[in-house]
């Protein structure tokens, strides 16, 4: 469905996306995972023909993004990170506008709008102006809108950013339903690990414009090997001894905690505790995608910062009026 070859985008001196090679199959939910500024949105924008690549090639639904941008845009739906619907219009009117712009067959347009509204549970609020919508409703409407012209591929850029946990899980349900019922290929960017874990068939971890790892969430977790062991230590722990052990990897000390991954931790924990010295508490768990991420990028997800002044833009959207 989507294939990129050495796809590259440079802005002045910054290389936002660096020789990206991806192959995404039909009907899969594919996650692009990475910290803010890793190049996720730029990648999506290039695939959606909004940004022209500096180098390399990409085909989307069989069309070249450089040579056939209009055909590409016909086959995709895009749900943006920031609000992108008209406050002064009702939800249904926003859908109608979209249908007109995409040249959707007008004969059964009403039926189609009813269908997508029902899919995202907005039938009752469809005639209200969008300024009265909550952030979650807005997202749902924009999701419905992205489906209206029945695209083969749906791009979701941080679809749950800033939503409460309940709404996020609702949205995940809709997205799963979509990919199953309509066989839509979904490309999703996120920096929520749990989102990628529960939603995506495959995940690419992107760091500084490059793919650091690509696989199913399960296999990525398996790659770390074993369990994550976290120890609360009081005195200076003796790390040298445990670093020598074959079955111990990724030993890290932060504050009063030592974290590591251990193969078959149930059997080896005794030995580790013996070597490290006095320990206050022990916690073992299966690795999460967050651990995978840490392993491959060497950094924690940066939550703060806001991508490109998101809140500033939110402010303007409230004041702007149009």
């Amino acid at each position: 469905m989507i294939e990129t070859k050495n796809l590259t985008k440079r802005f002045d001196r910054l290389t936002a996306v660096n020789k990206l090679n991806l192959k995404i199959e039909e009907g899969e939910i594919f996650g692009l995972l990475g910290p803010n500024g890793a190049g996720k949105t730029t990648t999506l924008s290039m695939l959606a023909t909004l940004v022209i690549p500096t180098e390399g090639h990409a085909t989307v639904a069989g069309f070249d993004v450089r040579k056939q941008p209009s055909a590409v845009r016909h086959s995709i739906g895009f749900v943006f990170q920031d609000p992108s619907s008209d406050d002064m219009l009702t939800g249904r009117e926003n859908l109608y506008l979209h249908a007109l712009m995409y040249g959707v067959d007008m004969k059964n347009i009403n039926q189609k709008m009813d269908d997508v509204l029902k899919l995202v549970d907005l039938t009752e609020r469809q005639h209200e102006r969008m300024k009265k919508y909550s952030g979650g409703m807005r997202r749902r409407l924009e999701l419905a809108r992205g489906l209206l012209h029945e695209p083969k591929i749906l791009f979701l850029d941080e679809p749950t950013l800033g939503l409460d946990p309940q709404t996020r899980e609702h949205l995940w349900t809709y997205i799963k339903k979509l990919s199953q019922e309509k066989k839509v290929t979904v490309i999703i960017t996120t920096h929520y690990m749990d989102e990628a874990d529960s939603l995506c068939d495959r995940v690419a971890i992107i760091d500084r414009g490059k793919i650091a790892a690509l696989d199913t969430p399960q296999k990525l977790k398996d790659r770390l090997g074993g369990d994550v062991v976290r120890l609360k230590v009081n005195n200076k722990p003796r790390l040298d001894g445990i670093k020598k052990l074959k079955y111990v990897k990724n030993v890290k000390q932060e504050g009063g905690f030592v974290t590591m991954t251990v193969d078959d931790s149930g059997r080896h924990l005794q030995e580790i505790l013996k070597r490290i010295g006095i320990v206050e508490s022990v916690e073992t768990r299966k690795p999460t995608l967050n651990d995978v991420f840490l392993h491959f990028t060497g950094s924690e997800m940066r939550e703060e910062g806001g991508e490109g002044g998101y809140f500033e833009r939110m402010m303007h959207s409230n004041q702007g009026g149009r």
């Binding site: 959606a48 023909t49 909004l50 209009s70 055909a71 845009r73 016909h74 995709i76 895009f78 943006f80 990170q81 920031d82 609000p83 992108s84 619907s85 008209d86 002064m88 219009l89 009117e93 109608y96 506008l97 979209h98 007109l100 712009m101 995409y102 040249g103 007008m106 102006r129 833009r313 303007h316 959207s317 702007g320 009026g321 149009r322």
Partner: protein, 254 residues
């Protein structure tokens, strides 16, 4: 076919929003009315006009100029508002659709011109009710044609500037360096026949002067350049601004 329905979509959006912002429509009429009532009466009481048909007072004389002023302010800012669209990503939704940039440009122009025409019709009704302006069918239609042609050019100008700008901080500069010169140098507020040569040369190169002159011809019978010249200049202005505007739209980045 989809380009055509897309054009309709963009127009539909602008018009729907316009009909819902009644407060904005009303406030857009306040400024021209203040010019007519306060400025027109105040200055009209101390000056006598030469070279205009008998019975035309100063208030009526500036009426066509005030119509053009309304177009200037309304249409230019309409165009500039795409900066706001950029900020809330509304524009992205339009740009990611299969429509060509040219269609998007014309959709905006058409929507803005419709909004502006409604405002001008309201001002024309007020003019004939309260300011002693007599419209015939011909002069009413011709006035709307001239005004609409001016709007197309000014909206295109606004869209051009807006597509090149990233933030609304420059709005004040645009007022000072674009709108006010175009307005003051158009002869909207004074007869252009006996001007000093330096000022007159500014007036003749300002395309807005020809819209003012055209309106003055059809409404008051008091033109200078001749109606055909007026129309020709405005149409040429339109073509140039549309060409620049579509070019700017095609290379617009978000």
């Amino acid at each position: 076919m989809s380009e055509f329905s897309g054009l309709y979509a963009l127009w539909y959006r602008e018009f729907k929003v316009f009909t819902r912002e009644t407060s904005r429509v009303i406030s857009s009429l306040v400024q021209p009315l203040m010019w007519l009532v306060i400025f027109g009466t105040g200055l009209g009481s101390v000056i006598s006009l030469t070279g205009v048909p008998a019975g035309v007072n100063y208030q009526q004389f500036i009426y066509p100029g005030i119509l053009c002023m309304t177009v200037l302010f309304g249409s230019l800012f309409f165009g500039l508002y795409i900066i706001m669209d950029k900020r809330v990503d509304l524009l992205k939704e339009v740009l990611v659709s299969p429509l060509s940039r040219t269609t998007i440009f014309f959709g905006k122009v058409l929507g803005g011109a419709t909004d502006g025409t409604v405002q001008i019709i309201l001002l024309m009704i007020l003019g004939s009710l309260f300011f002693g302006i007599h419209f015939t069918l011909f002069s009413a239609i011709m006035s709307l044609v001239i005004v609409a042609l001016l709007m197309v050019a000014i909206i295109s100008l606004g869209l051009t500037i807006g597509s090149l700008m990233d933030s609304p901080e420059g709005f004040g500069l645009i007022s000072s360096f674009v709108i006010f010169p175009l307005f003051f140098l158009s002869g909207a507020l004074f007869p252009i026949k006996n001007l000093p040569a330096w000022l007159y040369s500014f007036v003749v190169v300002n395309p807005v002067s020809y819209a003012v002159d055209g309106l003055r011809t059809v409404i008051l019978g008091a033109g200078t350049f001749g109606l055909l010249t007026d129309l020709a200049v405005i149409v040429a202005f339109d073509i140039i601004m549309i060409l620049i505007g579509t070019w700017a739209f095609k290379r617009m980045k978000i």
